[in-house]
Assembly symmetry: C2
Homo-oligomer: 306 residues x 2
Amino acid sequence: PDNIGRSVIYLSQQAHHSIAKAIRIAGLGECRVRYVPLDKRYRIVAAVLEKQVRQDKKSGLNPFLVVASAGTTDTGAVDPLHEIGKITAKHKLWYHIDAAYGGFFVLTKEGKKKLKGIERSDSLSIDPHKGLFLPYGLGAVLVKDGSKLRASHYYTAHYLQDAPEQSEELSPAELSPELTKHFRGMRLWLPLKLHGLKPFRACLEEKLLLAKYFHAEVQKLGFECEIEPELSVVVYRYVPKKGDANIFNKKLLEEVVADGRVFISSTMLKGKFTLRFACLSFRTHLKTVDTLLNVLKEKVRKIEKG
Amino acid sequence: PDNIGRSVIYLSQQAHHSIAKAIRIAGLGECRVRYVPLDKRYRIVAAVLEKQVRQDKKSGLNPFLVVASAGTTDTGAVDPLHEIGKITAKHKLWYHIDAAYGGFFVLTKEGKKKLKGIERSDSLSIDPHKGLFLPYGLGAVLVKDGSKLRASHYYTAHYLQDAPEQSEELSPAELSPELTKHFRGMRLWLPLKLHGLKPFRACLEEKLLLAKYFHAEVQKLGFECEIEPELSVVVYRYVPKKGDANIFNKKLLEEVVADGRVFISSTMLKGKFTLRFACLSFRTHLKTVDTLLNVLKEKVRKIEKG
């Protein structure tokens, strides 16, 4: 327990809240958490991360974990996975990448480039219900070194003595918290087996193209886009000639959602109420995006008229 | 973290290994664990538990958690739930009852008596895939005070600002580790809705009767039963006229399993290799139990002949 208070975790302020939740559940709530400064596109600055790790080591602390994102929720930002991987390797830190939203873009040519370095992670969280368009209940953590998982989760007991002897195939019960579980894997295996990767790849490519298209078109309507989309999330906001922009955009969101033709979401970026176009539903096609553009145009006019 | 090393958890040595696993996962691995002595029927002795709690408090330690079992895996033993509940209430300890195996016997008249005090628990684990004969994936923890769960698991984030305002109905995401999940509840709700409780109760009563029947009949075949069955687990072993009883019973188990007509399991009790009749499958009826008795008779004779 002494060591826990001296142990350091490095996070982006844009990390998903499930990371903080997991840290707490794992009993690591007393660790020090450093929020690494971000660049203009909300990505971890690798050089600063390394400086912090060096300083903490000098101070006698115990840096042990870096969490990067392969696509943040707010803006779809991809941290510099390759550079961070070099740092974690050099300093022997556990490297977790949250790829829940963006990981499956690795199947596309463009995504593969952007996610370079994802293979350096020690553990990787993925959500096939997002990037593979499959049913809920498939969220998973992939861990490179299975023996470490086994060391964490293996137990035995007298009443288990009739279970088959340890074979080369590891039992899921020895690699995860659960003992008895239902057969979740079918939902992942069957669609891939039936359809192959091709349609999934095409669908992911479509989402990237739609994000680019929306990013270009929404600006033509007078919206401001702070950053280029990296994957399929576009953040945008309208800056009205007069009045509070935050109030305007909040009202705009409410109008769009109440209209019901499309659903959009929002976030706060540096205190600015910002709209989010997060395109990762298999049902979202060009037609839907054009509808959204029309609805936005309509509602801006309506609010401006007052 | 200082407090963790001074905190005390009280367990039965017969507690399921998932308890130790959960303690480790929750970051409580550095807590002190006291194994409370058991009576002849492998149940926690409440008076000794209280004595230990008092002593630990006197020593400046922090007793905070007692785990009892409403049916242990090895022998189906039910700890004195009511008496332990009085102790945890008096000393303000969290009272967890592992009712995964035996909890649903509360639906029967006999089980209700035996499980008296189960309602005193702060948290209760149940496995409807065991005692309700339903599909896998329904294991749950019931917690009496929902606000404590919410305090543990509630988080918010900018990107969640469009979620509906806090209503009277709590969201599962705020009460458990998971955010997105599939709809597991259907598997529990639909069978209960379709059939009502009656057939489930009848099925549980059948299991209790079968355990009593097996307990009586297996002794007529010359098997030794160390303890009376409390729920639907019966432990038994054959004591051969000559030779090592452990080797004999291990061999007997192998013969029965290899035969294939019935499946039995085993455990170690005080160094004795002991056979387990654990009756909780909806497919196990009188006919199966009679088959088991016949197979046992046959195999004992075969091994004795050499």
